[in-house]
């Protein structure tokens, strides 16, 4: 699927040894043919299961279960952050990705069993920020010093399941959790969420911003629904797409339309109920901004498009 844009892929593997389960992570390379022909014949590529090439393991035996692995969003793809139990590990890939060296690490101290559940690497600030979720708390980290930069205590009433950075607004991030809520935060003011959505009737497992139109937010939940929301008011285009100056020809027609568009409301665009069981992953396509996929427990992968009307509404 398009979500993986790198030729190198990260994967989890569970190693059962001595009746003890340890979640590990490894770096894989996708076959070249799949990468080149993925758009032309997706059916073929899925039917002829081609093998991935294992490049290296991220050695986490000293740190516990891997919860999350994420690439540096920009750059040459040589850096990986992984979260293992209560450690945050920064890896450096060397020798054409055949070796992963632990560059630096930090760990979460505190009472009780603190475990990271999820993490995201911010595409802003020159890729120096990582946000993590552990229990009900959201934390921001600086990858240069591996120190905590902000902390949102009790971001959710219950466990925080996932978070995502707004690709266009550097301080905005979305989080979701077991309290069925999706919350939008401004990391400069962590006392109050900017906005809260409460559309799901069970734990929300995933939240994803559209890569280019950040008003489109996708959430997947274990109530087996996928919800596409339009969060115009807190997006980078709160007044809709700016009209191009070349559109002088049909200006007369355009103006009333613009007027009509003025009151933009945050709303749920669509609820997708194709899944029969809990949805555990949703992702936007990295190629086509109007395409997204969701994966549920029963093994069903559903690919949907943003409704045409909305697409035109956003574009025009």
């Amino acid at each position: 699927m398009e979500a993986v844009k790198e030729s190198v892929k990260l994967a989890f593997r569970k190693r059962a040894s001595d009746s003890r389960v340890l979640t590990c992570a490894a770096v894989w390379r996708m076959p070249k043919e799949l990468e080149s022909s993925s758009h032309e014949s997706p059916d073929d590529s899925s039917s002829t299961a081609q093998t991935l090439e294992l490049l290296c393991h991220l050695d986490n035996t000293a740190h516990g279960n891997m919860a999350c692995v994420t690439w540096e969003p920009m750059g040459d793809g040589k850096k990986i952050i992984s979260l293992a139990d209560n450690h945050i590990l920064l890896w450096d890939l060397q020798e054409s990705s055949s070796r992963a060296v632990l560059a630096s690490s930090a760990s979460l101290e505190g009472k009780g069993q603190l475990k990271f559940t999820s993490g995201r690497w911010s595409p802003h600030h020159n890729c120096t920020q990582v946000a993590t979720a552990s229990d009900t708390t959201l934390r921001g980290w600086d990858t240069r010093t591996m120190s905590q930069i902000y902390c949102i205590e009790n971001a959710h009433g219950q466990l925080v399941r996932d978070l995502d950075f707004n690709p266009n607004k550097q301080y905005y991030l979305a989080s979701c959790g077991d309290d069925c809520k999706v919350k939008f935060w401004d990391t400069r003011n962590v006392t109050e969420p900017v906005k809260t959505l409460e559309e799901h009737s069970h734990w929300v497992w995933n939240v994803r911003y559209n890569h280019s139109h950040d008003q489109l937010v996708l959430t997947g939940s274990s109530d087996s629904r996928v919800i596409l929301s339009n969060m115009v008011s807190i997006s980078s285009e709160p007044f809709g797409h700016l009209v191009d100056d070349e559109d002088v020809s049909d200006q007369e027609e355009h103006h009333p339309e613009e007027k009509n568009k003025e009151p933009l409301q945050d709303n749920v665009i669509a609820t997708y109920e194709e899944h029969e069981d809990s949805v555990y992953a949703v992702e936007w396509s990295s190629a086509d901004p109007w395409l997204f996929a969701s994966l549920s427990y029963d093994g069903r992968l559903v690919i949907n498009r943003v409704p045409r009307a909305l697409k035109y509404h956003i574009l025009l």
Binding site: K14, A16, S19, R20, V21, N154, G157, Q158, D179, C180, S201, H202, W203, S222, D223, S224, E273, E276, D277, S278, Y297, D298, G299
Partner: protein, 781 residues
């Protein structure tokens, strides 16, 4: 014929007889006759003495006035025979004779009278002659008297003049004496302190002195007087300034000074300044009573003192001022108004300060009485000083106090409500220490409801005092309209119900979403309370309020239905929150139990895990708790076999039918297929869904949340063979005990099936336990 001619005359009546003997010519007689007739006011016909008949004009009537002998004779001769003529002649002759004799007698009789009358006239003539002489004599005497009198007057003339002059001189001298004595007299008066007297003397003398001041002697007197007057004025002023002698005496002083012709403008200023000094004293003493320390006298006494001291003083000043300086016109009254307004303002400030101290108090009746007195007291100066608007200001103060009072009561109600909640918390916490689970939740609810209701009623009664008939300000428009509808109904009652809802809401929104902050029983109780309010209490309270406060205000009020809707919504949210909190408690228990256990290396299950028993126990406890406050609710009629025994058979057969194939590792596709097919026919489960107001719905919600958590947790773990079997046992156990709580037992089956299926999928070595063994273990546990 003469007899005939004379005939009518005697026929005319005896009244004519005296004229008869005169024997005058018929012309004359007729004339005299006519004159007499005229005199007697009779008409021609009536003069005959007979009533005027139809034959009155008959010329043949012998006795008629218009008798004509010729016509009569003609008639006789023409009509009568000879014999009758003869008869009539004799008859006539006889009549004539009778008449003659009559006449003779009359003449004789009247002749005597005539003679005596003549005698009388003669005598009279003599008498008059005598009288005339005497009259002449009288006239001469009178002339003499007049003459004498004139002479006397002439003689006395100059003496009289002299006397008059002397009298004038005497009066003048007395006046002069008064003037000369004036200085000493004034001095004496001033010494004696009889200022009024002195001023009166001065006033009398002033004009004269003014007139004759060109004469040196008068001038001296005037100068003396002026000196004394000045002294007098000075003394008066001094007395006035000393001021201790009270308003009436001061007023007197001012009056005297005015009479002395002192400038009114200045006096009026000074008068007001003095009055101000006095009233400021009053205010100061009032302010002293306020003090920083808690005020000793109660508010009633305070307003009383203020009323009699300050307001009374102000009244006196105003009355005196208006009497004294009435001549000052609008400017003067304006000055007074300004004065009154300023001092009144300060008085109001003090009163408000004092009333503010009273705000915390609970005794409304005292406050209302104090306000009443305060308001009533100010009506008098209000009428006197319309320009100062004291009465309006007083009404404003009373209104403000009433408003603040409402606010205070609202606050009191809120505090009482919170107090009730604290009591409930304590009551909920206490028995738990003794080991009993939330007994008497219904009683607690009843206690809370009744205590709040009694608080509301008490507040209403207290506030009602403001509108009592005997209170002087109750008929002000504010108290008749806005106070009732906006103040009491909207502000107090509706405000309280709203704040109650808000308080309840805050329990839902509390940051302690993990359920630690609020005991769930309290949520349940509040929910029930709100629901009760929705069904009955709100409409009851509002009806009560509307009855007690019949406001004439037309402003819109919150309808009962809106409030009820709010309360119902609140009840629903509280109950939903309760479900979430309780669900979370059980979820956490299940989650911990799944997450902390090492499922790969677990031993073969011998027992149901303790945590499952705990879940069932807790659910039962919740069931009991909810049952105390909510009705049973509708259960979906599933099947008739609701006894435990038949159920277990049913469920085990179900398990065999459904699980057995899926646990065979040889057919992993079947698992997915089967579960997918099964899901196609089952409805989607909304886990956190709104609940209805009944026990079954609440319990269903809680169990749904718990089981869904179990499912999700199981999916995150990896199970060994015995781990799977343990899950199987646990799920069967839950199935045995949880079905009875929910509306649709199919739901429990579905979720538990899903749990076991998920565990099987997460198991590298899925060998299920024999259903019979599972059953045995469960029944043993």
């Amino acid at each position: 014929m003469a007899a005939v001619a004379a005939g009518p005359s005697p026929g005319a009546g005896p009244g004519d007889s005296p004229e008869g003997p005169e024997a005058e010519a018929p012309e004359r007689r007729r004339k005299a006759h006519g004159m007499l007739k005229l005199y007697y006011g009779l008409s021609e016909g009536e003069a005959a003495g007979r009533p005027a008949g139809s034959e009155a004009l008959d010329p043949t009537d012998l006795n008629g006035a218009h008798f004509d002998p010729e016509v009569y004779l003609d008639k006789l001769r023409r009509e009568c025979p000879l014999a009758q003529l003869m008869d009539s002649e004799t008859d006539m002759v006889r009549q004539i004779r009778a008449l003659d004799s009559d006449m003779q007698t009359l003449v004789y009789e009247n002749y005597n009278k005539f003679i005596s009358a003549t005698d009388t006239i003669r005598k009279m003539k003599n008498d008059f002659r005598k009288m005339e002489d005497e009259m002449d004599r009288l006239a001469t005497n009178m002339a003499v008297i007049t003459d004498f009198s004139a002479r006397i007057s002439a003689t006395l003339q100059d003496r009289h003049e002299r006397i008059t002059k002397l009298a004038g001189v005497h009066a003048l001298l007395r006046k002069l004496q008064f003037l000369f004595e004036l200085p000493s007299r004034l001095t004496k008066c001033v010494e004696l302190g009889a200022y009024g007297e002195a001023v009166r003397y001065q006033g009398r003398a002033r004009a004269v002195l003014q007139q004759y001041q060109h004469l040196p002697s008068f001038r001296a007197i005037q100068d003396d007087c002026q000196v004394i007057t000045a002294r007098l004025a000075q003394q008066l002023r001094q007395r006035f300034r000393e001021g201790g002698s009270g308003a009436p005496e001061q007023a007197e002083c001012v009056e005297l000074l005015l009479a002395l012709g002192e400038p009114a403008e200045e006096l009026c200023e000074e008068f007001l300044a003095h009055a101000r000094g006095r009233l400021e004293e009053e205010l100061k003493s009032l302010a002293a009573e306020l003090g920083p320390s808690p005020p000793a006298p109660d508010v009633l006494e305070f307003t009383d003192r203020g009323g009699s001291g300050f307001v009374g003083g102000l009244c006196q000043v105003a009355t005196a001022y208006q009497e004294l300086f009435a001549a000052q016109g609008p400017a003067g009254s304006e000055k007074l108004s300004t004065f009154a307004r300023e001092l009144g303002g300060r008085y109001f400030a003090l009163v408000e300060q004092r009333l503010a101290q009273e705000q915390g108090g609970s005794d409304n009746s005292l406050l209302v009485r104090a306000l009443d007195r305060f308001h009533r007291r100010l009506q008098a100066p209000g009428a006197l000083l319309a320009g100062a608007r004291l009465a309006e200001a007083a009404t404003k103060i009373v209104e403000r106090v009433a408003r603040e009072r409402l606010g205070h009561h609202l606050h009191g109600l809120q505090v009482a409500f919170l107090g009730c909640l604290t009591d409930v918390r304590q009551a909920l916490a206490a028995p738990r220490l003794a080991g009993k689970e939330g007994p008497g939740l219904a009683e607690l609810l009843a206690n809370v409801a009744s205590s709040i209701l009694s608080h509301i009623k008490a507040s209403l009664a207290a506030v009602h005092l403001f509108t009592a008939k005997e209170v002087s300000f109750s008929n002000k428009p504010y108290f008749r309209g806005e106070f009732c509808s906006q103040g009491v109904r909207e502000g107090l009652i509706v405000g309280f119900i709203r704040s109650m809802c808000q308080t309840a809401q805050s329990f839902c929104d509390s940051p302690g979403e993990k359920g630690g902050a609020t005991p769930p029983a309290l949520l349940l109780l509040l929910s029930r309370l709100c629901l009760d309010y929705e069904t009955a209490t709100i409409s009851y309270i509002l009806t009560l309020t509307d009855e007690q406060f019949l406001g004439q205000d037309q402003s819109p009020v919150t309808p009962v239905s809106a409030l009820c809707a709010e309360a119902r919504e609140m009840a629903r949210r509280l109950l939903t929150h309760y479900v979430k909190v309780q669900g979370l408690v059980i979820s956490q228990m299940l989650r911990k139990s799944v997450e902390t256990r090492d499922w790969l290396s677990t031993l073969e299950p011998r027992n149901v895990r303790a945590v499952m028993k705990r879940v069932v126990e807790d659910t039962t406890a919740i069931d009991v708790q909810v049952g105390l406050l909510y009705e049973e609710g509708v259960r979906k009629a599933q099947s008739s076999d609701s006894s435990k025994r038949t159920f277990s058979v049913y469920s085990s057969s179900r398990q065999q039918g459904r699980y057995a194939p899926s646990y065979t590792p040889s057919a992993p596709m079947d698992t997915n297929l089967l579960s997918n097919i099964q899901k196609l026919f089952s409805e989607r489960i909304d886990v956190f869904s709104p609940v209805e107001f009944n026990k079954v719905s609440v319990l269903t919600g809680i169990i749904k949340i718990s089981l869904k958590t179990l499912l999700e947790c199981v999916r995150l773990r990896t199970f060994g063979r015995f781990g799977l079997q343990q899950v199987q046992v646990d799920c069967h156990f839950l199935q045995l005990y949880l079905w009875r709580f929910v509306a649709d037992e199919e739901l429990v089956h579905l979720l538990l099936d899903e749990v076991v299926a998920s565990a099987a999928l997460r198991c590298p070595d899925p060998v299920p336990m024999e259903p019979s063994v599972v059953e045995v273990i469960c029944e043993r546990g």
